[in-house]
Structures are given as structure tokens and as C-alpha cells.
Symmetry: C2
Subunit: 223 residues, 2 copies
């Protein structure tokens, strides 16, 4: 039997990234989960990332990178998380977050000898984030080809975004097919220490609507 191809999967502990991980595994990749401890307010995300990686039997590396040093987002600085923000770029946008995450994934992939990276970005529900747009991913793909040893050696680094065109409900349906227990994930921007969700922030609202539209019982633990 052929050895499985390695892939790095960015895992935040939320609904999207756990689904990206399950899809990567369903496509036959030997997945290495990477989480970044960027000083996010919702630290219970990282506990969720651990549960997610364990449930998927994927090794997890947690990289500390304190973006609070840089600031500029409601998720990393002392700015209130809004309950309903509908126009423009949300204050929960973390400056250059996906650019940074993908760069760290690229470094990890290079060390592992992996030529594939999965990220659970989604352009439908997060169209306000510049770094969730398909044109951003296309530009990153081009960069990744040039940025690494693999590129110099004639191999191609591929950035996979299996969720990019899916609605939240479609992501949930796909995940349920793949056997995901979404009860272990945390999407809330201000989950408490036990990982219980607030139920009112943007992320909670989008997630609730997703379960509702998908016709799937919401397993989220709320405060």
C-alpha cells in the first residue's frame, strides 16, 4: 500500500476547521493539525482544538504567537465583541490572520515534507474578511509555489479550501456525513473557560442559523 501523503491542516477548534480536517482525511491525507495560540480571548478554542485533533487521531502542534503585541482586533485587543455587525470589515477581524496562519502552516509543511495545506476559510459567511476571499487564496497559492524549498525543487505546494464556497448549513451537512461530533467544537468569540458559547455574538448567530437551516439539532453548549 502506498504511504499516505502528508497534509498540514489549520485547526482552530471551531466548526469550519474540524470539517476541513475531516474532509482532508476523507481524501486520504495523513493529517497534521496546527493551531496557533495567538492570545485569542476565547482560549477555550484551543481546548476544543485538542479535542478535535484527538477525535480525528491527528497529531496536533500548538504554536504560540501572541498577536496581542500587535493588537487591532476585538479578538486580541480590548475592544468589545459586537452582538450584531452586518456591514464592512468586522472588528473581530484579526489583522492579516489568515496570511500569518498560512505562513506558519507553510513552514510546518516544509519541515514535514508535506505539499498540501488545508484551511477552513469560507467566503460565504465571512465575506467581510479580506483574507477569506477566493482571490486572496489564489494569491497565496501563487506565493506558496515560490516561497519554499519544495517550489525550488519543482514540487508544488497546494492550498486546499474545501469549504470556501459552502454555506454554513452545507458545511454542517458535509461534516455530519463524515461523522463529526460538533458538540466538541467551539466557535463562539467569547466562550467561557468551559467552552460554553455566549449565543449572541456574530459567530454564534451564524452557527445557530447553520444548524437550523441544515435541519440538524444544535449540539452547542451555551452558557
Amino acid at each position: 500500500m502506498d504511504k499516505l501523503k502528508k497534509a498540514v491542516v489549520l485547526v482552530s477548534g471551531g466548526l469550519d476547521s474540524v470539517t476541513a480536517l475531516a474532509i482532508a482525511q476523507s481524501r486520504g491525507f495523513d493529517c497534521y493539525a496546527l493551531s496557533v495560540d495567538y492570545g485569542q480571548r476565547h482560549y477555550s478554542e484551543l481546548d476544543a482544538a485538542k479535542r478535535v485533533a484527538e477525535a480525528a487521531a491527528a497529531p496536533l502542534k500548538i504554536l504560540p504567537l501572541d498577536l496581542r503585541t500587535i493588537g487591532g482586533s476585538a479578538l486580541t485587543a480590548d475592544i468589545d465583541v459586537p452582538e450584531n455587525e452586518t456591514t464592512g470589515i468586522p472588528v473581530t477581524y484579526v489583522p492579516a490572520r489568515n496570511t500569518i496562519m498560512l505562513s506558519l502552516a507553510l513552514a510546518y509543511a516544509e519541515v514535514l515534507g508535506a505539499d498540501d495545506i488545508f484551511i477552513g476559510v469560507n467566503a460565504v459567511d465571512y465575506s467581510g474578511y479580506p483574507d477569506c476571499r477566493p482571490e486572496f487564496i489564489a494569491a497565496y497559492q501563487q506565493l506558496a509555489r515560490l516561497a519554499t524549498r519544495a517550489g525550488v525543487e519543482g514540487r508544488d505546494m497546494t492550498i486546499h479550501t474545501p469549504l470556501i464556497d459552502l454555506s454554513k448549513a452545507e458545511i454542517i451537512r458535509r461534516g455530519i456525513e463524515l461523522g463529526i461530533d460538533y458538540g466538541i467544537t467551539v466557535s463562539c468569540y467569547q466562550a467561557n473557560g468551559e467552552g460554553r458559547a455566549c449565543g449572541v455574538c456574530d459567530s454564534c448567530r451564524i452557527r445557530q442559523e447553520g444548524f437550523s437551516v441544515a435541519g440538524v439539532p444544535d449540539p452547542t453548549r451555551y452558557v
Copy 2:
């Protein structure tokens, strides 16, 4: 008088980045220095970065990001630094380093409201590093336009690489014109705690040749 435009300048404490900083200032930018404490062996680099920023009167932010967690380079893992490595990608190459550095600079620029980033990459002496090539920088430029709030708002983020086509001797001559005291910089891959250079690693060798070809006395403090 117009307010100066802000720029983020990646400063390592080495010869190249101090020159990039001086060039950015000479072009009229209000410069914010950014150093990354990536667990480099040559920690005295960061002391040099502090001296360099202070001499240039530029505020310095040091961002901790321990790339030893990822490994894969002689500069961050337990691999010997070679004395003479002439073909292929050097083992001192840190996987995706410039991609990561530029991503952090992008985040910082976004928070500062700066549309300009300076990085002292050089394709002449470091042609073995994939992420020092002009085509890598061009791809990053394209990415930076799409990755940030500035891009969405129709402003352009520019990556400046004033040293990219210069030889080490040309960099030194330009720096001397701008009044740089290279004695405060550290380029050595394995400088000691006092910032004294080994004189034998690749980086020392390239630097020594640079001073020699430039016809400038080498102010480096050696062990």
C-alpha cells in the same frame, strides 16, 4: 508640513536590515521597526536590533514567535551551522521565514495604518534562499494587495526591497553614505552573548568580503 507616511521596517540587527531602515528613513518615511524573536541561536541579534532602532530613533516592537517548535533549520534546531556551504539551499534557511516575517509586518502595518513595508532581502548573496528571490517578493506584493483592510478599501500595500539587486559591497557603501555605524550590527549566525562574531560562518564570510570589496574598514567585533 505634511505628516510623514508610516512604514514598517523588518529589522534583524544585521547589516542588511539596518541599511533598509536607513534607506526608508532617507525616503522620508516615519519608520516603525519590527523584530521577531523566533528562537534564533544568535540571540545577540535582538540586542543588535535594539541598538539599531535606538540609533535610528525608530520605535521597535519585538514579537515573540518561537519557530523552534517547528524546527527544520540550523538557525532554530540542533543542526550544526556550516563554515562553507556553496550549493543548493543552505541548512541555515529557516522554513518560510520571510513569508512569516512579511505576514507579521503586514499585520503590524494594518494596525498602524501604514501602507509600506521595507525588508532587507538580497537576491545576490542569498540566491540559495527561495524567499529572497525577486519573484517571491512580486508574489508577496500581489498577496499583500488582497490580504488586508487597506486593499479592500482601495489602498495599496507596497513591499519595498531596496537591497534586492545590490551586492554586499554596494549595500555597505550605501549605508556608509547614510551614516550607518555597522559596528553596532550583528550578522553572524552564531555570535556569542556579547554579539561577537565567529568570523567563519557563511554570514561572516559574506560580510567580511563585503567590507573588503567596498574598501571600508570592517568594524565587526570578532571573538
